[in-house]
């Protein structure tokens, strides 16, 4: 007899985490890395990744103490309801903010590179509606979609990296370890937000089918983007050098523009790559949008998130339309990622308090 299985499977957890991390930032990642630490960027991004993965372990530890609740509920249990609710609203604002920035970053790149005559608003509305449609289907559908899309995204990134090796020049990667420890510390701090995405574990943990395996599989899910990000930075600096990479708005796209596809059946590799990048942005935004609607529902103690998901749409759109130009978009994304670091700190505090007060749920 076939048993109906509820919840997110192990492998889906892997791809869910992975797609939450690989989002729009893939395009600008090598720039952020080489801006932060020059040629040492490759190592700094690796260190930032290792630090992030240890935070991921701590988050999983926290979520494991309350296997039936999301952070919205157990923050109320740990730090009494009122501050807990306030924190829940804060989390909601963060998730909404991320959805908005993903939407705007996505639309801006599409307008700049592909649909140059389409109004920005149209691109944003179409994308937001597609995401809404996806979100209304629930977390299980989203995880299935991630399971389907994420391997393709990782594959396209891998192809980009491999084909870029033709233009690779090892000398561009020197000098290494010349500037002392300081750039490493600063750079690590600068690059931590790049890996944001694993904090979704605070919300999706209760939906997992097999809770004892979540940590292992989410670490797998973290490992894929980590590997991709490090090699991508390595290749970008190897091809363009740290200075030019830091001066390029979307260095990943620039790498794609420099590729000769063997056999030349696809003259423009950059367009080919963009297709998969759209997948990546789509899954990222779907996850965050879903979690935003979920968190506000839980803050009010309600069950059905769908009305909120629909109601949120204009707000996400407004956040997305807020920045007036590319400079403001970059600034805005930076603020949002600072809030993201705040979320990490907050969850660490929760973990500490729950340990001290020996609070445990479910």
């Amino acid at each position: 007899m076939k048993q109906r299985l509820d919840g997110i499977s192990n492998i889906q957890i892997t791809f869910l985490i992975s797609s939450a991390i690989t989002g729009v930032t893939v395009l600008s990642l090598p720039r952020i890395a080489s801006e932060a630490a020059g040629t040492d960027g490759v190592f700094v991004i690796l260190i930032a990744g290792i630090v992030s993965s240890s935070i991921l372990v701590l988050i999983a530890l926290l979520a494991n103490r309350f296997p039936k609740d999301t952070i919205i509920e157990y923050s109320s249990k740990i730090i009494t309801p009122l501050p807990g609710k306030a924190a829940g609203v804060g989390l909601f604002i963060y998730l909404l903010g991320v959805s908005g920035t993903v939407l705007r970053n996505f639309a801006d790149v599409i307008k700049g590179f592909i649909l140059r005559q389409t109004p920005l608003e149209i691109i944003m509305i179409l994308f937001a509606f597609t995401v809404l449609y996806m979100v209304l289907k629930g977390i299980l559908t989203i995880s299935k979609m991630c399971e389907l899309f994420e391997p393709m995204v990782i594959g396209a990134l891998g192809l980009l990296i491999i084909l870029s090796f033709k233009n690779f020049n090892i000398e561009n990667l020197y000098p290494l370890f010349e500037k002392g420890v300081n750039p490493y510390l600063r750079g690590t701090l600068d690059l931590l937000p790049v890996f944001l995405g694993y904090e979704i574990l605070l919300f999706v943990f209760p939906f997992a089918r097999n809770k004892s395996n979540v940590l292992k599989y989410s670490l797998f899910g973290f490992l894929m983007p980590l590997l991709m990000f490090v090699t991508l930075t390595f290749v970008a600096i190897g091809v363009y050098g740290a200075d030019a990479t830091g001066r390029s708005l979307y260095p990943t796209l620039q790498l794609a523009k420099y590729i000769v596809f063997p056999g030349a059946f696809a003259e423009r590799f950059d367009i080919f790559f963009m297709i998969f990048w759209i997948f990546a942005s789509f899954t990222t935004m779907s996850i965050y949008y879903y979690l935003a609607s979920l968190s506000i529902t839980r803050v009010f103690g309600l069950k059905n998130y769908k009305p909120f998901a629909v109601l949120m749409l204009p707000f996400v759109f407004m956040i997305g339309i807020l920045p007036q130009n590319i400079l403001q978009i970059l600034d805005f994304s930076e603020y949002i990622s600072l809030i993201g670091l705040g979320v990490l700190v907050f969850s660490m505090i929760l973990l500490a308090i729950s340990f001290i007060l020996r609070k445990k749920g479910g």
């Binding site: 000398e171 561009n172 001066r247 620039q254 523009k257 420099y258």
Partner: protein, 379 residues
């Protein structure tokens, strides 16, 4: 009944959305720009020559029909590159498209005044690919595009393929520079060597190179100096050098390089404020043509002699180009500054601005090792 009505509405709506090509632009409406020539215009202006593909002409040539032209050249006076694009629009019924741009050719006069400002557009424009090659032409670039290759290819494709193919087999054609490479180089002001294209009678030639100092073109290097340049830059794939052996240096032997490796090791002399670059060249190759007595090549002494003379020749070629760049151009087109920055990062951080003085005092120490592997099919 309601279900059927729903279905009907759905079908109508779907059929409406399926006609989604309302804003498509036919491929014939695009002007695919294959090559761009930029020359000096009157006063501060520039003259831009666009070479635009005519798909009908290319297809006719492919089918052996001949006849029709495969490209059309349009000349525009403008203040800068984007301004030229605007003016081009008023001269053609098509929309310019850069996704197939093969070459950008700067005229001699214009490049003497600087090319950096004219490259900005190409690096900023999202449509541009980074495989476009950048050259400097002898005389005005406009002349170059007037040469029509006999095989029906466009001039731009012809130049582009010429650079790609010949630089692998010929030593006198240095490795071309494309936009991706320029993006890297222009991150800080540096000297470089661009490909040179010149019109000789009715033919095009890409022999030699153009030295660009900071961003101004300052002079040519000839084909012999290009050989030295390629050897020093470690870009040699294949290629032949001519050597003469024998007591009276009358016997000519052609030595074909089939593999070459160059290692550059800088050494700082702080007192003299200079660098000594020890260059180790390891070359192997075949004897491919022997003058005079054809049966003398199968002989250990002969082979040794060839190796020795080849070493001398390589040394002369390398020193020749180094001296030319250092003494007459005072330009570090070999990119030795990058080698120094890699080996002496702390020195580089402090003395970056003094690099030119260090370079002018620097010396080249060559250590060439040539091995002859084969002598062809005649014993």
């Amino acid at each position: 009944m309601l279900k059927k009505l729903c279905l009907l509405t759905m079908m109508t709506l779907v059929s409406l959305s399926l006609t989604g090509c309302w804003d498509r632009t036919d491929i014939e409406r695009y002007a695919f720009i294959l090559g761009i020539g930029i020359d000096k215009g009157e006063k501060d202006g520039i003259v831009v020559t666009y070479q635009i593909a005519l798909p009908q002409g290319i297809m006719a040539a492919g089918q052996g029909g001949g006849g029709g032209e495969s490209t059309v050249e349009i000349k525009v006076d403008a203040v800068n590159k984007k301004n030229a694009d605007q003016k081009l629009l008023s001269k053609t019924n098509q929309i310019p498209n850069y996704s197939h741009l093969q070459v950008i050719v700067f005229g001699e006069k214009l490049s003497k005044e600087g090319i950096r400002e004219h490259l900005d557009f190409f690096l900023r424009e999202p449509e541009m690919r980074h495989l476009t090659k950048v050259l400097i032409s002898r005389g005005d670039s406009e002349k170059v595009f007037k040469v029509k290759p006999k095989n029906g290819d466009s001039t731009s494709q012809y130049i582009s393929e010429m650079l790609e193919q010949t630089q692998r087999f010929s030593l006198s054609v240095p490795k071309y520079v494309d936009l991706g490479m320029l993006q890297r180089k222009l991150a800080h002001p540096s000297d470089l060597l661009l490909s040179k294209v010149s019109k000789i009678d009715d033919m095009l030639s890409v022999e030699g190179g153009a030295v660009v100092k900071e961003d101004k073109f300052i002079g040519w290097i000839d084909s012999k100096q290009a050989i030295g340049y390629k050897l020093l830059e470690d870009n040699v794939n294949w290629g032949v050098i001519d050597i003469s052996i024998g007591a009276d240096k009358k016997d000519r032997v052609s030595f074909q390089i089939i593999g070459s490796q160059t290692k550059v090791q800088p050494m700082l002399k702080p007192k003299e404020k200079k660098f000594i670059f020890s260059v180790k060249l390891t070359i192997e190759g075949d004897v491919v043509e022997v003058g005079q007595d054809m049966f003398k090549a199968f002989d250990a002494n002969f082979v040794k002699n060839v190796e020795k003379q080849a070493e001398n020749e390589v040394e002369n070629l390398c020193l020749g180009v180094f001296e030319k760049l250092q003494k007459s151009f005072k330009a570090d087109a070999l990119g030795l500054c990058e080698v120094v920055a890699n080996h002496y990062p702390t020195f580089w951080d402090k003395h970056k601005h003094e690099w030119k003085e260090y370079f002018l005092r620097s010396e080249l120490k060559l250590n060439v090792d040539v091995s002859v592997r084969r002598i062809g099919l005649i014993k």
